[in-house]
């Protein structure tokens, strides 16, 4: 409960911070929409004339893109800014002040900064969902929506774990500000249905860096083609991933020897 209140407080600080620069707010929104548009155009160009991506029709691929847009908003709006803040703290030695605060450091660090305007991508994602299902000419069932929501929570948990793991690297290797770019670049692979990857890559993106679990599975759930068993296994996987990230965090913070001492 206390952490919920703290979370709200952190979020509010970021919001106020962002609202200081109102014209930036508007321009950033426009840029975001432009990028979302840019990610749909290749699909439109490529899938003209009824082609499909490994069994995903145009409409079905759009559902994957919508989930990607949703998670990308979270990555760019919450995960990346937090990593950037921590890296800055580690480099300047000001992380000590965060560690001194009477709350869990992992919590404080991972909610340090949000870019609220990225939330506009949530609206874009909803629009893509709407358009996709209009194309498909049907509405997802309640069970399918429930399944997709469970998987979305899993995906968010995995994303959070990735954040914590990346931050842990910052304690060992100081110069990692562009690791966030690397994370974003790797996440780009989640843009299309997982069927585009074959062989070893498919295995890696399912079990090691579970990008397919994050965007393709929720889309399949919403389309009603995913077995329940996969949802259960994915949830176990997400919990395990988060647990591992916590263990790594505790060890990394233990090895941290402040820049000032």
């Amino acid at each position: 409960m206390r952490y919920l209140r703290l979370f709200a407080l952190q979020l509010r600080t970021s919001l106020i911070f962002a609202l200081q620069y109102r014209s930036d707010f508007a321009v950033d929104g426009a840029v975001e929409i432009m990028w979302a548009f840019a990610s749909v155009v290749p699909l439109v160009v490529v899938l003209q004339g009824g082609r499909s991506i490994g069994g995903f029709s145009f409409g079905e691929s759009l559902v994957v893109v919508a989930f990607f847009t949703l998670l990308k908003a979270l990555l760019d709006g919450a995960v990346a800014p937090s990593i950037a803040t921590v890296v800055e703290h580690v480099r300047k030695g000001t992380l000590d002040f965060v560690l001194l605060k009477p709350a869990d450091a992992q919590f404080l660090v991972s909610t340090a900064k949000f870019y609220p305007w990225r939330a506009i991508n949530v609206v874009t994602a909803m629009a893509i969902f709407g358009y996709a299902f209009r194309l498909l000419g049907r509405v997802p069932s309640v069970a399918a929506i429930a399944m997709a929501l469970v998987l979305l929570v899993d995906a968010i948990a995995i994303l959070y774990a990735l954040l914590v793991l990346t931050v842990s690297i910052a304690f060992y290797a100081v110069r990692v500000d562009n690791l966030t770019f690397l994370l974003g670049a790797v996440f780009d692979a989640a843009r299309w249905p997982g069927t585009v990857f074959r062989g070893a890559l498919r295995v890696v993106f399912t079990w090691v860096l579970p990008l397919i679990v994050m965007t393709t599975y929720p889309a399949q759930a919403l389309l009603g083609t995913l077995p329940w068993l996969t949802v259960v296994v994915s949830t176990f996987g997400a919990v395990a991933f988060t647990a591992v990230s916590r263990v790594v965090w505790v060890r990394a913070i233990g090895a941290y020897t402040s820049a000032s001492s």
């Binding site: 014209s23 930036d24 321009v27 950033d28 426009a30 840029v31 432009m34 990028w35 840019a38 155009v41 290749p42 160009v45 490529v46 899938l47 003209q48 082609r51 499909s52 991506i53 490994g54 110069r175 562009n178 690791l179 770019f181 690397l182 974003g184 670049a185 790797v186 780009d188 692979a189 843009r191 299309w192 069927t195 585009v196 990857f197 890559l201």
Partner: protein
Amino acid sequence: MRRVLGALLRLSFAEAAAYRIESLIWFLATTMPLVMLAMFREVAREAPIGRFDDSAFVAYFLCTFIVRTTTGSWASWQMNMDIRDGTLAVRLLRPVPPLWSYATDNLAALPLRGVVCIPVAIGMLVYLGQNGGGGRALAHDPRLWFLWLVAMVGAFALNVLTNLAIGCLAFFFESSLKVMDLYIAAFFLLSGYLVPIEVFPATLRPVLVYLPFHFQLGLPVEIMTGAHGVGAALRLLAVQWSYVAATLALTVVLWRRGLTRFAAFGG
């Protein structure tokens, strides 16, 4: 002048070598051509798209990767930061115009970037050789490879100059980086980076071919993959170098006008 430029290049190269891990991370972050390649190969599995079959897509996107990593520029970010926090004042004190030092920064990164591209090129050749696609997927005519070099230099010049021009906008207003964002989004879409221009609908193609974006990336890639004959390539190169000249003029004007407004924040 030659001596000064030589010194500048050595300095820039030392900087590039000092931050080589960082360079490597930037290099690894160029995943988009590979992600697009995965998608196009899957789509082309049913039937080739235009002239593009599996081998042609592999050749196209790996060439895209090579061209992008070698000709890409980041000068606008550097300039934006320098102008806003006043570091530009330091660069202005040096005996060479700062525009030159930004250009040499880009130039000096080339050897490192070239080296990391070699395994990609080898991998491509091995794949094409094994799949028997090498005969069609890459250009054969040595004259075309010479023209490719000219196109690469042109693409590099155009990338650096566009970055410098947009970087100069920081003299005039604060959010010039947003202009770069918009430009990059347009570049991704329209240059052939995400989707080969030949794959776009026939009605759009004549427009896209003559937009500047195409000459920053698409043209050298297309020459490598044998999309143009010598005559067509020469015509397009003429257009590319006209763009280079025009952007150069624009950059110089923006720089001169902007510099008079520079107040060296905090200096």
